[in-house]
Assembly symmetry: D3
Homo-oligomer: 149 residues x 6
């Protein structure tokens, strides 16, 4: 192999998944007027929905032997188990226990996904691989990014 | 003007709009088992949702003086009034009277949009402008097209 | 249900799948010079590759009870079995028996996919559901469409 | 070769090109008030601009020997010569003689591209290859299609 | 609410807007030859144009009560007032006073947008919300990013 | 010119290129079983392929006179010479000497592109312009980012 390639290199790998969910922006601690004022049409009683596109980025040093940061098959399984099963074809206000009593805004969703994946990815910490970024596109026009800060 | 441009020309004009809605695939005439069997995770009790992307195509002869098939500002108003107000940030099973008692699949949604717009575009019939096609992308992978047949 | 929705409606449903494959444009009946002249860099010895995006469109009358043209879970299984298993992560010149002795151009690929799916979808003929169109995007700039003509 | 592949097959091949141009919607035969009324902000004096995305579709019978409908290198040269040189980095109202005295709407542009390419592609007529469709996306939301009718 | 969600979290929220404008790359301090040499076809006399896609990113701590970083309705109004009204359907060389005497390259445009929005977003400073990034896509192939450095 | 625009501004300019290549994930130091276990279908004997989309980002201070970070015509030539000639329509395992004896994963490809461009862009160092980031999208779902760390 090219000797230069043997130097340790820090790489960011991003996997994109999409789930389809309903949500309603509504805070029971606010009056109905406050909810309408703050959330507008996003607080309609029965909710609305989105095709949420998530970009999950992990980072660490490339493994010289495999050429991989990590086994993508494993990452896909984790995202299937932790993200798709939890959020896909669900109503975020009713069906996701991690969001219970929270307003399921894209901001809160990004933070929640971060918290869930930080735990699920702990098995990689001894290899120096960590979660770097969670980006969620709610629509083509609105997205939110969280980096664990 | 270039004389060739004066010949009558049949043009198809497409306007794309996006709305965000929840839906649940569920037919009360079926048993719970049948619903689960036919609709799977799409029949979850509280529904899920999508960013629906609609492509509305109208066709007719270009107006030589304006260079337009029709006034796009008018078409935008019609789509705002008839489509966005009716479907955007709504739960299709509860909030849309045209879909009441129907299974709000993308197929039924496309047909419903066609029926609504056929009426709304009647003012253009004497100019020879008619609705040609309704395409709805439910996700990046699934879409449905209806041409009034 | 809205009575208008009970009229028979002809719908086109499109499912998109993507596979990643290598190919080499090369006809052994041509001389090396002819191959270079006709296929240019596309005839490089070891081949190159693409993310092929396929849009498979079927059409027929919507089922009033389910709201579906056909069971999308079934269509997904057919595409998994007939398209993904056959073409994904393959070298089209070596690994696909249907393309043996053919130049694996996007045109030939579209025709081949049509022929394969026409057979696989025969079970739907008695319901009046037929394959309508196969579109393959080889790159963002080049695509090919076949309608069985 | 698979014998089925030897049957004549009618294929549609689409090539996408993008050009960046300015235009102003304005008809000198109309009063200033009429222009403002019809074209709104699109009639601003100095013009505005777009990334125009063109999809050019030709159709005919696949050549069994090459696997191609036509030599894509040739089609690329024609589009470079006839479309890119004429329209790219130009102001459609000033720099394109085919549009002189016409309102450079997307409709008129599509018709003009059709007329230009019909002439440029005449060399293919004896092979049964003809221009099938010109689609122009002016923005992500507006597009126009012309099929020579 | 999940207690973990109560920790302060720094979030980046991105809103995307698109405007259609003409521009000409030309510096009157350069000779005609220098302009042609530096800007090539981008210096054509009457200008050309683009669909400019802007991604505006603001950052700060999520408001626990609303689940929002900031009221998106307000941000949309600011972008409508400060960006769309100023740049949409305009010729950047003639119609935008902030760009007068500047070469309206994408780089200068990004810096100008940053300067405008920094002022417009000052009302959020006491909430710790600041402009983080301005990205402008001029075409699908060229983009520019400015972070206020 | 607006005086504010005269301050030094650090800009990030991104150019996107796409190449079509085949590759096979396979390490001759591993047994056949290990290769299958680690790389799965990605280790199929004849390889498969992708439309690789590269985003190359350079950064530095905008030149006040030209409005540019650097001459995009030059950057395009460098990418044509160093990236497209080397990788486009190639089989990464056979045709690219920089990847010889390396596993041509997207991670290794990103690092290799970085090393090649760092050398090619040395002519800009005295102007303070440096390579900032290489991002490669292998598919719509998988991408890798390298920043020279």
């Amino acid at each position: 192999m090219n000797n230069a390639l043997k130097k340790p290199r820090k790489i960011y790998v991003t996997r994109t998944v999409e789930f389809n969910a309903a949500h309603r922006l509504y805070n029971p601690d606010f009056s109905d007027d406050e909810n309408r004022d703050i959330y507008g049409k996003c607080s309609n009683t029965h909710g609305h929905g989105h095709n949420y596109e998530l970009e999950i980025t992990v980072s660490g040093i490339v493994d010289q032997a495999t050429g991989f940061l990590l086994d993508m098959k494993e990452l896909k399984q984790i995202l299937e188990q932790e993200i798709m099963k939890r959020f896909d074809h669900k109503h975020l206000n009713f069906d996701v226990k991690e969001l219970r009593n929270a307003v399921p805004s894209t901001e809160m969703l990004a933070v929640t996904v971060w918290d869930i994946l930080t735990v699920a990815l702990q098995r990689y910490i001894n290899k120096g691989i960590t979660l770097h970024e969670v980006t969620i596109h709610e629509t083509r026009k609105n997205s939110v990014r969280y980096l664990g800060e």
